[in-house]
């Protein structure tokens, strides 16, 4: 079944130990889509400015992504500039230009309102709720956020958590929003705010998944290491790519049980491992489903015994 992703389409300028790139196509919705399209039809909900290069529209469309709700507004496209140092585990944001993002009111067609799988990637929680309220029959709703909103719109974010199924956060965000240092406790607390499931991304250390509804012999926690990548070129968008692989697989499978969740976590891991191997969307945009399958087998043999 198809999926809707709300988020940003951005122009990213990035510097890593492996070089710098200016105004690459990026943004949470773009990275998410590039992974999720390998599993299902993706409907992208975002806004760009009148300066947004047409070639990027052509490019996204060529990847099969439905852009009927990608709005172009007068003004500048959202831009992000960042730098990674050392072990590339965290970005230093050098500059953010909101541009048209500050006036974003997501559009969604009557047809798209029927879509049951929804991912609310990182934008203002008010915008996320605005879209979610428009949807006719949400079945599986994932939500990502970031420290900026945790700090400035905590109340709105916590209110929104009551309406969703899966909260996706990195380890620092999970600790900040929950007030717990132990990540299992953090996940349990975040789940008590509403979402049945909490997915904590730990970058090079993999992922921790908590569910209070699944009955697995392991208990409420699943955990996977990261796929070992020796040459991390640019981690920008890895978390959104993970979410795209994870939600894309779940949307395709149509099931939410412990077996499907673990496989979805593995697909998210593998998708993210491709993303970090080159700048921007260079690597993930060239993927075909067989690439994921091949790496999934290698990944599995890293820990199966």
């Amino acid at each position: 079944m198809s999926i809707i992703v709300l988020g940003t389409v951005a122009l990213d300028s990035v510097k890593t130990p492996f070089g710098r790139r200016k105004e690459l196509l990026g943004g949470s919705a773009a990275h998410f889509s590039m992974a999720a399209r390998l599993f299902t039809k993706v409907n992208l909900i975002a806004i760009v400015g009148s300066d947004f290069p047409k070639k990027h529209i052509v490019f996204l469309r060529s990847k099969g992504i439905n852009l009927s709700s990608l709005v172009t507004d007068s003004g500048k496209t959202f831009r992000w500039e960042g730098e990674y140092k050392g072990d590339l585990n965290s970005a230093l944001t050098l500059n953010t230009e909101l541009g048209v993002l500050s006036v974003f009111k997501p559009q969604v067609s009557e047809e798209q309102r029927k879509i049951e799988n929804i991912f609310l990637a990182n934008v203002d929680p008010d915008i996320q709720e605005h879209l979610l309220r428009k949807m006719h029959s949400p079945k599986l709703v994932g939500l990502d956020s970031m420290n900026y909103w945790i700090n400035t719109k905590r109340k709105e974010l916590i209110k929104l958590l009551k309406l969703i199924d899966i909260y996706v956060a990195n380890d620092q965000e999970a600790r900040d929003l929950s007030g717990e240092t132990n990540l299992i406790k953090a996940a349990r607390r975040l789940s008590s705010f509403g979402p049945k499931m909490v997915l904590i991304k730990k970058g090079e250390h993999g992922v921790l998944f908590y569910s209070r509804s699944l009955h697995a012999s392991s208990g409420p926690v699943f955990s996977l290491p990261a796929y070992p990548v020796e040459k991390v070129i640019d981690p920008t968008g890895a978390g959104d790519t993970f979410a795209g692989g994870f939600m894309g697989y779940l949307a395709k499978s149509g099931k939410i049980n412990s077996s499907a969740i673990k496989k979805a976590l593995a697909y998210g891991t593998v998708a993210a491992s491709f993303n970090v191997e080159d700048f921007g969307l260079y690597r993930t945009s060239k993927l075909v489903p067989q690439d994921l399958e091949r790496r999934l087998i290698k990944f599995k043999s890293c820990f199966s015994f």
Copy 2:
């Protein structure tokens, strides 16, 4: 087959968010032994002072550990005092009293010299080499060290790496000794110093294992998450407990192939997860092999799909 462990037997005083304990039985060789004994006969090589409580000797012996080469010298037993805060991932050392450790020359009986499985837990690299040179037919030699020796006896440590099979380090030590931030690169570089295998312990994030000799479909890297423990009471000795489970299983199985290594990593993980659930050796000393087996099954279901 039996195993020899060289290391410390100490009196540990520790403060964690869950309380404080004074002069607990601890030390690298004690923690290692408490896990390895669940797989094979353990021969402990260490030194204690004349102040070492007899009840600890009785206790270790009651666990089936061979203490014939545990030397008692006039002087004080090695003492360590530390504190854990926040997420309990790293200890703050408050005080170290070397005592008799400063005059330690490991003793080993003629019978013990024939033992083929050897673990050189964290002591002065010169002492580690001294013991290793006495052994008649080392087959599988593991080595652990710490930042103190990496900084003060780097040359000796790197020389010693040429003589061993498995170097065991935590992530910070691996980065410090290799000069690489990416842990796979760090492992590869450490392996180039001598050891065919490098095991990097990442605490709550699990373990990364690198081998340049095993031919596995996954490539040279194995990776496992940690077993999810919600209430970490005292992580002191978790790394040594991991090593004890890992080396103990390998010594018992008598095989070094990718399947045995992955299973050994899983046993190490599970043993360490018990260790952190209580102070000192409280939890691991009460374990029977079936406890490991039961938790291994739960652990496997955290990530198997």
